[in-house]
């Protein structure tokens, strides 16, 4: 049973990562920096609980705040460029963060062992959960509380004025600008929110994994982050969740028996999915059909 709880933890954390990219994608910007914010959150939260002895919840708050601040600071210069230039700028930022932690040493002696991040060896002994006697089920529930909170927040945001502004910028920048929307403010706020969510996910990841190292936060993770909302579709937050379930639940765990072939199939299936459904699993049309299925025809009006 613990295996499934562990899988649910992983799915929860990856959903947070995907949602952080989803917010930025709503404004039409592709950010490959989410793995960088994720890494920042992981290191900050872990250092606070291990080195400073904080409780996990304030540490997560501080991690989210750090992620948001970094994202905001990066957002201003990076958003001077748009579209494909931004993809590359954020990719470089994410790699920069990874390389920073690759060269980052900060160890203090705790009893007879030294704890703290140690460059290429990573950061071991993040033992908040075992030290406080949390079971796997409790950890999973703890993670999913955050996932559900963030999903509810984004779902509500989508229905608010702010969500409409985000989508307006994503659909057509020129039209949005002529409607009096401040493009820079919208984009920077979206990337700030995304940075906070990614850092939150990273903080949770560091504590259930108990060991983090720079290699986990590479380009692969950054592409996963944007893959979830793109494969799932941008029409709703549930698209991201569906894609995480599909990728982590089905492709990674479900096909485990296939061994090596699984990795081959993974890339091929993404290529195929994009050819068949260029706007993702859950696009606007699909979403309406599903709503009709559950709530009858009344609410299906476009």
């Amino acid at each position: 049973m613990d295996f499934y709880f562990g899988l649910a933890q992983l799915i929860g954390v990856h959903t947070l990562l995907g949602l952080s990219a989803y917010v930025v994608l709503l404004t039409g910007q592709v950010s490959l920096a989410q793995a960088g914010f994720f890494a920042i959150g992981a290191y900050v939260a872990a250092m606070l609980t291990v080195l400073a002895g904080w409780h996990l919840v304030p540490a997560l708050g501080a991690a989210a705040l750090t992620g948001a601040t970094t994202a905001c600071a990066v957002g201003f210069p990076a958003l001077r460029v748009k579209g494909l230039m931004l993809v590359i700028a954020t990719l470089a930022f994410g790699e920069g963060v990874r390389l920073f932690f690759f060269n980052f040493d900060y160890q203090i002696a705790r009893g007879d062992v030294k704890v703290g991040p140690l460059g290429g060896e990573g950061f071991r002994q993040i033992r908040f959960f075992p030290e406080n006697g949390w079971t796997t089920l409790e950890v999973m529930l703890f993670i999913w509380i955050f996932v559900l909170l963030v999903m509810a927040l984004l779902w509500w945001l989508d229905r608010s004025r702010y969500g409409a502004v985000l989508r307006a910028v994503g659909e057509d920048e020129l039209a949005a600008q002529s409607a009096g929307i401040n493009l820079t403010a919208v984009k920077v706020s979206a990337i700030t929110l995304g940075g906070a969510i990614a850092a939150l996910g990273g903080g949770l990841y560091a504590h259930y994994a108990t060991h983090i190292e720079h290699l986990s936060f590479g380009i692969l993770l950054a592409t996963f982050a944007i893959a979830y909302p793109i494969v799932g579709g941008l029409a709703s937050v549930f698209g991201t969740l569906a894609a995480v379930l599909f990728v982590q639940g089905f492709l990674v765990e479900g096909l485990r028996d296939l061994g090596d072939w699984r990795n081959l199939l993974f890339g091929a299936l993404i290529v195929l999915a994009m050819n068949l459904r260029p706007r993702g699993f859950l696009d606007a049309g699909n979403l309406r059909a599903i709503k009709r299925l559950f709530w009858g025809g009344g609410r299906g009006a476009p």
Binding site: E95, A227, V271, M274
Partner: protein, 292 residues
């Protein structure tokens, strides 16, 4: 001082491969306004296929491996176009971005699968040749890499600026709809661009194999990142920009490696990119205003 000069020149020679990769990204961007994320992986894949030719036909002359990589790169370029661009509507940029990322993972995994993840030795030419100018030396293998890359760039520039095909390519990259109205077949230009960039990528992959001495799937990600950085520093869509930026980044990273070590090297390359994004977001050779 001599050390500085030496590592800068070595870096510039090796940077020619970055320039080739940068050209590939920039050409596809110019013509289709899309990024082909699978390009770095396809280039390394082309080099692998070339190496396979040499292994299958034992006794073939070594330079043939470069030619094999060249052709295999073109083939892979065509396949990438077919799998990731042909059937996806132009209006969904996210879909092609994602499909090429999927292709990157797929090519990487195919390489790992067929070679069991073991790095493969790559034949180097002239690696025993050293040109000496007093204390200053030029490595023969790097010089070959540089000269072959320069020859390819010259060939490409001639193709772009001296042939009807090049004229059509440039027309499409300036204004696709106007080019179509003049009777240029857009789909054909797109395919040709992919094949041409694929050929270049195959050569770049082969040159990297020759300069490093081995081929490994670990090469693809750094190559993709470096190629994209070169593209941005040079100015998206500008071929001369990509060439200059490739040589610049190659020299810069080797000098940094001399002073700060290999682990911090790429960090400074990222900082260089950010400096460009802040102070010169259009790149070295930014296209004139009015085009997007």
């Amino acid at each position: 001082m001599l050390d500085l000069l030496q590592s800068a020149s070595d870096g510039v020679l090796y940077g020619a491969t970055y320039a080739l990769i940068g050209i590939g990204f920039t050409l596809v961007f110019g013509v289709m306004h899309k990024i082909n994320m699978a390009y770095g992986a396809a280039s390394v894949g082309g080099a692998y296929l070339g190496l396979m030719v040499l292994k299958l036909g034992a006794g073939l002359p070594v330079p043939l491996v470069f030619f094999g990589s060249f052709l295999a790169g073109g083939l892979l370029g065509w396949m990438v176009y077919l799998a990731c661009f042909h059937f996806i509507p132009l209006s969904s940029p996210l879909a092609t971005l994602m499909s090429t990322v999927g292709m990157l993972l797929l090519i990487d995994e195919v390489i790992v699968h067929t070679t069991d993840g073991m790095p493969q030795n790559y034949p180097a030419l002239f690696d025993d040749v050293m040109l000496r100018f007093g204390e200053f030396t030029l490595r023969g293998d790097l010089l070959l890499v540089f000269l072959v890359s320069v020859a390819c760039m010259a060939g490409l520039l001639a193709l772009l600026y001296r042939t009807r095909l090049g004229l059509a390519t440039r027309a499409v990259s300036q204004q696709a709809i106007a080019a179509q109205l003049c009777g240029i077949r857009l789909a054909q230009v797109n395919v040709t661009t992919f094949v041409i960039t694929g050929l270049l990528g195959g050569i770049a992959g082969a040159m990297i194999g020759a300069a490093v001495g081995t081929l490994s799937p670990l090469l693809t990600t750094p190559l993709t990142v470096k190629g994209l950085i070169v593209t941005v520093i040079g100015g998206l869509g500008s071929v001369p920009g990509a060439i200059v930026a490739g040589l610049l980044v190659g020299g810069f990273e080797n000098v940094i490696q001399l002073y700060r070590g290999v682990t911090e090297r790429d960090l400074y390359v990222m900082l260089l990119l950010f400096a460009f994004l802040v102070f010169r977001p259009g790149g070295l050779f930014a296209p004139a205003g009015g085009r997007n």
